[in-house]
């Protein structure tokens, strides 16, 4: 066997991951990708003074995760020229461990921090790098950020423009790098959950769920059906709040007032439902390893259903206004198109991928928890433009509400929280969760004492930022904010 095959949330002995030669490793990864797998995670980890590259390949058709590894020196032949979706991962590996992917076409830092090993590098400043330039008399460069107008996170964008037309957009991040992965190493401990919950504040439930499922996999803890259902409800509530907010923000970016104003309020209504569940609008403290921190009694359950119904009615009116207003559709349609082929080659995830017609949804492809028993239809659209990304969100809003209704109506009985067994020694577990932005991947590896030797987090934004850059090619620079909002990626989730 050249790969170790796991299910989502299943743990295995870390030594069972096949160690291949670099040549075989490349061959296996490329073969798997050619077979339809996608790189869910690809990272380096130190292994007895040497570096080991580990690839997690997700095969949606078989619902399997294939792991393989290779020991490398200071350099190895890059995968990116043959497999574009590896490009961001390889840049990360180079930045973190100083292992050089030879032949990588665009090898630059992604987060601008000191390497994890072999120090003696001078000061590393965010954004201090060579940016791609288009030369020519009529070409001009526009630099935006890292400080933006409005309340958003910091990120730097460089446009190479010809008049109003964008030739190329380069995105430079790293301003939010906090060292979340490094802070998790040595866990699990009391600090682990707060760190995971704040990897991306708007995806608190998503990341906490991925963490909890990884930890339960490592310790073989069985979570009650009731807790699983409640987690599903919280995950979908998070999706509802963010999707409603995004649709409103899209309306705002084209200057369409009614939907912008109402969706901003309705997002709050959905957030308040999460608060009804656990007392926190963003779901902090709800998901806990072993179950959930709060139960949902019948009185609150009926209140939740009633308020959910009202919010859905409101959002339906607000969103339908968008589709019925031709001036809005004129802005949405044909703006920021990402082709299905680009989407598959770059391994985009979440609503961004589904808007290009790719049926990719971890809830269906790699079901865990409640999603093994209750299925949410995958919402897709074909045009790949801003309209498609907005419409997919609207479809998902309706389907998530239906799901929550079903789940609340038939909540199984049982304990909400069981004690988790400590993680076994030398184990690895991969957990995938479909957060509202897309696939969240956590890879937990333990050492011989059962502590986290390494904890790898791949936020959907990590896959999708390049998708935004592609969407802007040949577009109007004035449409950038609209495209950006239609992806609505996380800066801190990427920067970790």
């Amino acid at each position: 066997m050249s790969v170790l095959v796991l299910r989502n949330g299943e743990a295995a002995d870390v030594r069972k991951i096949p160690s291949l030669s670099v040549t075989d490793f490349r061959r296996v990864v490329l073969e798997e990708v050619a077979r339809g797998s996608r790189i869910a995670a690809f990272f380096g980890r130190p292994d007895h003074e040497r570096m080991r590259l580990v690839a997690v390949l997700a095969n949606a058709a078989e619902a399997t995760l294939s792991l393989c590894s290779a020991e490398v020196g200071d350099a190895y032949p890059s995968l990116t020229p043959d497999c574009p979706q590896a490009h961001w991962f390889e840049r990360e590996i180079q930045e973190q461990w100083g292992v050089r992917p030879e032949g990588h076409p665009w090898l630059k830092p992604i987060r601008f921090h000191r390497p994890y090993r072999g120090g003696s590098v001078g000061e590393v400043l965010p954004g201090a790098t060579d940016f791609f330039r288009v030369e020519g008399e009529e070409v001009h460069e526009v630099a935006v950020g890292p400080v933006h107008a409005g309340i958003i996170e910091p990120g730097h964008f460089r446009f190479q423009c010809h008049g109003e037309k964008v030739f190329h957009l380069e995105i430079s991040l790293g301003y939010q790098h906090r060292g979340a992965e490094r802070a998790l190493a040595g866990g699990p401990g009391k600090r682990s959950i707060p760190i995971v919950e704040t990897v991306a504040g708007d995806t608190t439930i998503g990341h906490a769920l991925a963490y909890a499922e990884a930890l339960e996999g490592l310790g073989r803890t069985r979570v009650s059906a009731r807790a699983q259902a409640l987690r599903g409800i919280a995950l979908e509530l998070e999706r509802l709040a963010n999707h409603a907010g995004d649709v409103g923000a899209l309306a705002n970016d084209v200057g369409y007032l009614p939907t912008a104003a109402y969706c901003g309020r309705i997002r709050g209504d959905f957030l308040n439902l999460t608060a009804l569940l656990c007392g926190n609008r963003f779901g902090r403290g709800f998901v806990r390893p072993g179950g959930v921190g709060f139960d949902l009694e019948p009185a609150r359950a009926s209140q939740l259903l009633e308020r959910l119904q009202r919010a859905l009615e409101d959002v339906r009116v607000a969103v339908n206004l968008l589709w019925d207003t031709s001036s809005v559709m004129a802005r949405f349609e044909g703006t920021g198109e990402v082709s299905r082929q680009t989407c598959e080659e770059l391994g985009l995830v979440g609503p961004a991928a589904r808007a290009s017609g790719v049926e990719r949804d971890a809830r269906q492809d790699f079901p865990a928890g409640i999603f093994r028993f209750a299925h949410i239809p995958v919402s897709t659209c074909d045009s790949g433009d801003v309209y498609a990304r907005a419409y997919v969100r609207w479809l998902e809003i309706q389907r998530s509400v239906a799901f929550i209704r079903d789940q609340v109506a038939s909540l199984p009985s049982g304990e909400t929280l069981v004690k988790t067994a400590p993680p076994g020694p030398d184990r690895i577990c991969v957990s995938l969760v479909e957060g509202w932005r897309g696939e969240i991947c956590h890879v937990a590896t333990t050492d011989e004492a059962g502590r986290f030797a390494a904890y790898k987090i791949v936020d959907p934004s990590f896959h999708n930022w390049i998708g935004l850059a592609m969407a802007l090619r040949g577009q109007q620079i004035s449409d950038f904010p609209l495209c950006n909002k239609s992806f609505n990626l996380s800066y801190c989730g990427h920067d970790l």
Binding site: E141, A251, D253, G255, P258, Y262, R265, D479
Partner: protein
């Protein structure tokens, strides 16, 4: 002294129009909205601040807001309103007023370019492009009115347009009004051309050019834009509400009602439609030119 009052009222009430527009939009958004007098509070706040100047800018940057406001105030003095003639008038002053609008824009653009910022250069380029298309629509529209009234001063034109004119050349006046409404929205950076509320520099036209101005300079710019809104509004209302009874109270009241209705209409337009894609804006403006031209052909016929 009656002719001086309306210019003074214009100077006093112009920011109120912005307050009414904002309030209308707030109503559509289901909010209470800012106080009607908020634009005045903003101006007072800005006037109380100090100004910061980048070392890369020259005197042009500082001259921009002053020249802009001065030109707008001068243009205001040529605008007849509410049936009254303007403080100043001469044959051909309509071109002079259009020229003053152009001068304001010219200095705003120069001041924007003076900062050397990519954003402001982009805004300046957009402003220059769109105003080059808005100006012919305005001038052709004015030409229709001049031909119709046989006068070459704005005061004469406005005296010449009465309720009975609508019976004679109604279709032409409808066309000119539509063209002037588009010019009104474009020149004042309103939706569907520009979004005065956006915080997104890359999408802005007018707002992005004044990003680097602060304090009293910015107050001058805001006040200048309010006056511009008033001037173009006066023109449009003078055309659409041609109450010329000779009674100052009736004429003035009709004018005030017209301005209020225009502000509310602007708010409603902003609340019920999205912005045009930037590349589509010229289509709208060329449409305005076509409307004006058609009206001109009709009155020359």
């Amino acid at each position: 002294m009656r002719w001086g009052i309306q210019a003074a009222l214009g100077m006093l009430l112009a920011p109120l129009l912005l307050g009414v527009i904002t309030r209308t939009k707030a109503f559509f958004a289901g909010r209470c909205g800012a106080p009607l007098l908020q634009p005045y509070y903003d101006l007072a706040k800005l006037l109380g601040k100090g100004a910061v100047y980048s070392r890369t800018t020259s005197w042009v940057f500082r001259a921009g807001p002053v020249v802009g406001l001065a030109a707008m105030l001068m243009a205001l003095a040529f605008m007849p309103a509410g049936g009254a003639v303007s403080p100043f008038a001469f044959a051909g002053d309509m071109l002079f007023v259009a020229g003053l609008l152009g001068l304001t824009r010219f200095f705003t653009i120069l001041a924007a370019l003076d900062t050397g910022s990519a954003f402001e250069g982009m805004g300046a380029s957009r402003e220059a492009q769109f105003s080059a298309l808005a100006e012919p629509a305005l001038l052709l529209g004015l030409a229709v009115l001049a031909k119709q009234s046989g006068e070459l001063s704005l005061s004469g034109v406005m005296q010449g347009i009465s309720a009975s004119s609508w019976g004679v050349v109604g279709p032409e006046l409808v066309l000119v009004s539509a063209a002037l409404l588009i010019v009104f929205l474009t020149e004042n950076a309103r939706i569907p051309v520009d979004d005065p509320n956006t915080h997104l520099e890359l999408t802005m036209i007018h707002e992005v050019m004044v990003l680097d101005h602060g304090g009293p300079d910015f107050a001058f710019i805001l006040y200048g834009s309010a006056i511009k809104l008033w001037i173009l509004g006066t023109l449009l209302v003078g055309l659409l509400v041609p109450v010329r009874t000779g009674n100052a109270w009736i004429d003035g009241g009709a004018f005030a009602g017209g301005m209020l209705a225009l502000s509310v209409t602007t708010g409603v337009i902003e609340s019920t439609m999205a912005r045009l894609r930037l590349v589509r804006v010229p289509h709208l403006l060329v449409g305005a030119i076509a409307l004006s031209t058609l009206a001109l052909i009709l009155v020359l016929r």
